[in-house]
Symmetry: C2
């Protein structure tokens, strides 16, 4: 019924374990850090390497550098130079990256439902009861910010 | 606005990197294999170690054994003995496990949207346009099967 995978055939994809869409997503995101970096960019507005490095899970600098490179390589984030200091890199989610919002939302809801976490009940209620509104707000905020970035260029 | 995390305080959780619900979910599921095992149990009806081992991504037997143990340890799957052969273990998703369906769905949709995959368009459309119906069917099939398991015991 749900057999949506087949043997990998095309040359380009021979390095993939399979071309099941779940597998492909996990090949890009299946580790303990990538989605935390995306959370910090999406929900917290972190933009600099320093902010990401100081996030509370305590990511090591070599892992952070590696993950940022990988996320940029697969088009989930992009980098630009800070206006105030051209030496400083600014990290932002692309459209492909911001479209991970539903994945993060479901992982947050599941974690909060089954484990002891610090998720505020009001936010969880909004995520669950007003799912579409919550996701639209994330998209709109991202679009506004990307738009203002473009105007400044 | 979305600051839902705080420092870890309780003793029980001192081994966690933080008590952010996303982090907690990733500590349980954040690797390249766990959600594939859950996919095989959820969508394909795999029940035995052998079936899981032969899934097309080619999981190594030591990794499969390790992940099954971890998933059972955190209550996502449970094991029982096969009626036909009491030496054989049967793996099934718990309620906590089947409630990962929305996470899998979103990862599948995202992967199919942005990468080249083998996802059939009809299934993707159903996942997207009839999301709730799709998820309800998964829940109902799981409940039916769990019910019939209970009756046979």
């Amino acid at each position: 019924m749900f057999c949506y995978c087949r043997a990998v055939t095309s040359k380009r994809k021979q390095t993939r374990r399979s071309d099941c869409p779940l597998n492909v997503s996990l090949e890009l995101l299946g580790d303990r850090w990538s989605l935390l970096i995306i959370r910090d960019l999406m929900f917290r507005g972190f933009r600099s390497y320093k902010e990401l490095l100081e996030s509370e899970e305590g990511i090591a600098t070599n892992i952070l550098a590696n993950r940022l490179k990988r996320l940029e390589g697969c088009g989930i984030i992009n980098t630009s130079r800070a206006e105030s200091d051209r030496r400083q890199l600014i990290y932002r989610l692309t459209k492909k990256g911001i479209d991970l919002a539903p994945v993060l939302l479901e992982l947050i809801l599941w974690g909060a439902r089954y484990e002891e976490t610090a998720a505020p009940p009001a936010m969880l209620r909004k995520m669950e009861k007003q799912r579409q509104k919550f996701l639209s707000e994330i998209q709109r905020r991202w679009a506004d910010e990307s738009g203002s970035m473009l105007l400044r260029k």
